[in-house]
Symmetry: D2
Subunit: 359 residues, 4 copies
């Protein structure tokens, strides 16, 4: 349904062209001073219109907190927030009121509910993820106090793939360009490709890579709520995601055990480490203290600035014209969403883990 998490729990609501998008965060630890400007900055990273390679819908995406914060601190009670829609040009969707756009959720929502808010995809719009970014920004602030740092970056756009691993990259460089790839030459090539694709009225897919550093060993719950299983669900719940892998991922399927096994050793500080990290920081579903890293595949955006064949609610053939304002490539804006979902998952597991530490 529209709630995620066990102890740190986010419920989201809202439609693309309704009054706005919002959420309720339940189970946030109390007494934490929130940096509200930082939350807004995170939201700005996801905001439409932030650069020329994303949708030109103009939304200030200002978050208003409705509860749960007193004198700047969390109180342990639900934190509700709301982001009003301002630039919802519903008229742009009038011609789609009875159409099923290809590879959108128009048809499936219509079948499931027998009714749908067709304006901008209604509830199925990726605009819903704004609420995730607010919750993720709060979770990140809590996690930072625990020494946990989460960052993500664009590692692939179409066929252009970054050839470096996460540990060869500088997290500070992610925001240095509009595509959010921390390697300058690759970023340039990606930007050029996205511009080209947009010019053609087309769209293109990509991959976002995520990194979680500083996770203490012990987080994750056997057997169904393995840390990476929950992470997979969280990522796959983001619009347009088609695949998830962590550690060695699909490449691991090609490897031998003798290559893939991460040998343990005790480092100079007495900490137990592994020499390699094909496990991606997780063994048996539980964090082992090494860095968690993963990759998330996004399909190309379904809305094209071209005519497409489709059908209407009566099943009749129609032509859908390319109108509205859309992203030629979703991954640059997906970076803060991926970080946010990772933060929500990790904080939830941290709370769950602490529960069992009886004297």
């Amino acid at each position: 349904m529209n709630t995620y998490g066990t102890l740190f729990r986010l419920t989201t609501f809202g439609e693309s062209h309704g009054p706005g998008i919002g959420g309720v965060i339940d189970g946030c630890p109390p007494n934490i001073e929130l940096d509200q400007e930082e939350i807004q900055r995170e939201l700005n990273r996801r905001r439409p219109g932030q650069s020329k390679i994303v949708t030109q819908r103009k939304e200030s995406d200002c978050v208003e907190f409705l509860s749960g914060i007193f004198e700047g601190k969390t109180t342990g009670t639900p934190i509700a927030f709301f982001i009003r829609n301002h630039d919802a040009k519903s008229k742009d969707y009038g011609h789609l009121a009875h159409a099923f756009r290809p590879s959108h959720a128009d048809y499936t929502y219509a079948v499931k509910y027998g009714i749908r808010d067709y304006r901008g995809g209604g509830r199925s719009s990726a605009r819903e993820t704004a609420a995730r970014v607010v919750a993720g920004a709060i979770a990140k602030q809590v996690l930072r106090r625990e020494g946990i740092r989460i960052w993500a970056y664009v590692s692939q756009v179409g066929e252009i793939a970054l050839q470096k691993a996460w540990h060869e990259l500088n997290p500070e460089a992610v925001e240095s360009n509009e595509v959010r790839c921390p390697d300058a030459p690759t970023a340039e090539a990606m930007i050029a490709l996205i511009r080209q694709v947009r010019k053609e009225g087309d769209t293109i897919g990509g991959v976002v890579s995520g990194v979680i550093e500083g996770v203490p060993p012990g987080l994750g719950e056997p057997v169904f709520d393995k840390l990476h299983a929950e992470l997979a669900k969280a990522m796959m719940s983001i619009n347009a995601v088609k695949g998830f892998e962590y550690g060695s991922g699909f490449e691991g399927a090609k490897m031998r055990g003798s290559q893939h096994n991460d040998l343990f050793y005790t480092d100079e500080t007495g900490r137990i480490r592994t020499r390699t990290n094909y496990s991606g920081g997780i063994q048996g579903g539980i964090s082992n203290g090494e860095t968690i890293y993963f990759r998330v595949a996004f399909k190309p955006v379904a809305t094209l600035m071209r005519s497409q064949e489709s059908i209407n609610e009566q099943g009749e053939k129609i032509t859908i014209e390319g109108k509205g304002r859309h992203d030629p490539c979703v991954v640059p804006r997906a970076v803060p969403i991926v970080e946010s979902m990772a933060a929500i998952v990790i904080l939830d597991f941290l709370l769950r883990h602490r529960a069992y530490a009886l004297d």
Copy 2:
């Protein structure tokens, strides 16, 4: 935790070398005549010792039902079951009582709980999945009545990858060979590779592909419980899984929207269909009536028949010898597990979907 699902809900318990493995299924629809022999047959597909390319541990894996079935039919009350361990050679593990095996869950369980049943990996053993196969076999029987068919097969072992798509394969051929690849020449090559790897005391990874046919449109819950998000979690919760993708998957990240979009049409029977199926049968997290297909990556088994460097609980360097009975490649036995988890997910969504059909 150890429970999966919302309305059709499986709780599993048991350790590799304890009294046995079992589970409780809650929310099974009532009044369904169960074919108990078929359940046992499914369990036999996962059973150790079934062929020469899997572990030689000898377990009959006989399932005993403890509740919830009356005169051969489900009653709607919890179905509990138990599979006794017989061939648990715990002595084989004496030398591992204080060792942390590489890429196993020994270390993470020890850190998380401060205690662990080291015999055969205890709770972290893939033996737990026997309980999933029982629940999956029941779910499959319920789904068959609804016209839904689930099957899986081995599509990759190491570098050897099946080059055909699911619709070019014959599901009946899956059981025709011991590696469970429905393409004879590929199967032969895979078997040869697994034998080679075993001879070297090594192990190898692989990929299982899954297919879900006959799902009506409308299953799946926005926004966090998208059908594919739940499927991802279910698959990633299986031991040794490193990646999940559905529909176009990671390849989709390379594509253009104009290629990737699945155009709608109305077929001769009046049913709404799509011309291609890059969406993998799911749009906006909800089934669209097309076939759902997905791929699950498994890493190579961590237990080798070779000596490996590691550490003990004190963090001291030790050498772990290759002993015990293990699979050189896990994917042939993973096929019924993948099918089972898929069945559990789909049945749960089917029940959830029916709930809202008032009047």
Copy 3:
């Protein structure tokens, strides 16, 4: 936490003196035309200042819907709503910033969270129940379509107890007086008592009785989620409630089985009925088609218009003066809250029950 329900699910948020009170309803069946004026009317029944025997805080309690409704109908997506606080006189609470009021939640919230919004009780204020009334009003509209009718009334104020059973009363008479007791002479006595108590700067407890008619047999889930167990939890979660009983209740503890057993018979229409209804419409946790009836005990409001001895956060003795605007007796305003929680519980069970009705 702050979420109630399994398939029909309410999450509430907000504090007494923050921006407002709100909620998110997830799982409302789609395609239902909502009578929004009726929702506001239900809210008015709970509103402060509605008569002379309740608190004189002036809140219009106007509900604004933020999502989930399209062209007047539910869409199946989350229905979020918000009620702004207007007459929050936080200054009235300045003297209480560091005080623990007797029999309030000031102390327990301070201990639990290490921080609290002291203004008007913050999250622990009964103002939170406004959100429940909105959700309950929606649930009642859905249930009415299914032939289920829920009503409640004040059956006791202090020692004055209504001597008639629910079936001797006219539900239409509940709103005929400000105390919401459908028996005119008893109502008059109750009102006189409340006025007297208020004049003395004191408060008084009472009992609300609830009635659920038209529930089909079969709702309720064994063994922990018995219909009456969930009803008990729902009622006990309302501020100031100290007890719950259904059917014969505590009186049943005095009875013999030969008196208490409800004998079955088949009525003229072929419907299975019971001759008596000590079971209160529920057997084995599942509705049997007879009317469900129950009683909910409310303690006297803790805020007095008198000085009281107490302590502050440092544990020092202080005197708390009687200030602010409070109810001398909470039960008249509790009637719609009791109805609402009952409606939420019944609708949730109705949805859960439908889930299992596979072909």
Copy 4:
């Protein structure tokens, strides 16, 4: 459904005349040495045939642990257990195969599921509570380490009510007589009444009172999961329960605020206390450190040793003869069940509370 709890979670299964009754406990803190004999002793307190005033069914009720315990200690993984049925005289129920016994769950289960295990009530039998006692016995052992003590006693049988409050009683005296009332003269009168009732082939109701001492302040979750709301649900989920009250309970409805308010003071040790305890140890749904006390009303057992009029599945009039072995009064055996459910609730809240104590 058949699972209770959030972090400490019990799933039960089994029928009265099937293979047996069992359960799975998930989320038990690890590394706790369990006294298994004490668990069996608790089970013996609930066991049929333990004295002359309870049912004469002969069950040894020996619990077998199937998982989750290693070398006598909990491992943090699921603890499964099973109690085989031995003296299930299903033939005694042959005459009831098609009958609906008055005030039993026969009819409601038949309607809900369209099938039922009629032998001894199947899943609806109070035999299910044996599993709760096992889980409760474990929870009690964990809680004892935290200084929390839970005890219950019979405070009423029919019209005979104990006139003393919990603090006037000696918990050690509960087991001194077969009715489990810690006041000898009252116990005698109760026993005499139960014998009389049994002689008449009748049954009688009663009340069990519960006491929870040593709960630290801060347990309980606003707003829906108030400590007493969850306690109410837990108690109401026990077979035959009709009412629950805590603290002042239904008597509180008659009181004035000036009487009912529990005034705070700081005791000689600096601990914050209340002078009275009408609140029953809970304020705003959160424990305040005072003793929690409550009362649970049980109806008379529905099975009589007399003929009763009823109907069969076809709705035809039949006469049901009094056969089988049943309790004339359920409350003596209900004492450990009440304690167990209280222990499960408190341990769950303790774990949930600890989760949020970051840093």
